[in-house]
Symmetry: C2
Subunit: 219 residues, 2 copies
């Protein structure tokens, strides 16, 4: 992917602004598991995902986690450059969920262009609004959905992302995505297994009845 | 308050852009309880709070509510103009919590200026980031705080907003702020009463031990 592929508004930028973004950009390849950004003290820059998959999540003081959203190929990570907006008063962590290749635009170059370009600033607004929408979706899930529904939804989403029914994932890791303790996950997965929806083995959850899981989720 | 008081960047706008915002603006006074904005199908415009207090909240399909944040004098409500950004994919309700006087900037005028003015667009980014931060704070409260802590925090905040220890509020209304059923609120308030933290009477919660409530909240 070219830099311009990440910005649908690329052709509306002035040549000088395009040059400023292009000149500062650098590439980085990180193995699965790398923590790329650690809260607002970091000013990592804008991450553009060329290949792979990132996870944005938050951490409690006690070390519990919950996934806010995923960033896939072609996505832009804004919160790794959150230091450029003083009104962002929360701490997001960003980690690679697969081996990932990125382009990074340093915060300073991006901020300078954004301050002068209404086009880039409006585009940035749209990116932030899209992330905001994902967090609102999550908030609604947590508030109004039961845990069995959220777990069913997570297994289906994970299966779509991985392109397989056999998910290599621990109960602990599922808990970190959903913001719940491991025991709660294990109990519900065992219930799902007793209903014939999944088959459990060591660090593996196999989906055996996709249709019922889907109904479960949508209830 | 003048229109310029709502926009710290007013003097950086061009005279033409200032005129466009000023020409479109109109005043509205609404009594307590008025629903000013009802999800993304409405395109109410930007609400500027001159006097009074607004509440932004979401509704579940079953009619449960939770307060996202309050807007006080001098605050700008962006989501009442959410139709101007296509990436905003969630439904926020806005209602007056007190008799409120507003200025309303029609979405079209605001959007036109924002598309041409990097200054206004960057300012709008900051407003959205501030609301995003409030929602992230709420998400963290829901995920990591126990209900007794959230209730203690709510009573203290309400008391600060109203300037009194005697809160005229039903258990039902507290539930709508916190996203919990009335019975859960009643049970916890009775527990607080048994601990001497509050005194309950018809549609009234009186704070009797502010210090312990504060400790309770911060646990």
């Amino acid at each position: 992917m070219e830099l311009s592929d990440f910005f649908p508004i690329w052709n509306q930028l002035t040549p000088a602004h395009r040059a400023m973004l292009t000149d500062g950009v650098f590439r980085r390849a990180v193995p699965k598991g790398t923590v790329l950004h650690n809260g607002s003290m970091d000013c990592t820059g804008l991450l553009l995902v060329q290949h792979g998959q990132l996870r944005a999540y938050i951490l409690s003081e006690e070390g519990r986690e919950i996934t806010l959203y995923r960033l896939l190929e072609g996505d832009i990570c804004l919160f790794s450059a959150s230091c450029m907006m003083r009104s962002i008063q929360f701490e997001v962590m960003i980690a690679a969920e697969r081996d990932t290749e990125l382009w990074i635009i340093p915060t300073d170059s991006y901020k300078t262009v954004m301050e002068h370009s209404a086009v880039l600033s409006n585009f940035t607004n749209e990116v932030m609004a899209a992330r905001f929408s994902e967090v609102m979706w999550l908030l609604e899930q947590i508030l109004w959905k039961r845990f069995d529904q959220r777990l069913a939804g997570f297994l289906l989403e994970e299966s779509a992302l991985e392109g397989t029914d056999v998910l290599k994932i621990t109960h602990e890791a599922i808990g970190s995505h959903l913001g719940n303790p491991r025991e709660v996950v294990t109990r519900m997965l065992r219930y799902f297994q007793s209903e014939g929806l999944v088959k459990l083995s060591r660090a593996t959850v196999e989906i055996t009845d996709r249709e019922t899981l889907r109904r479960q989720y949508a209830i």
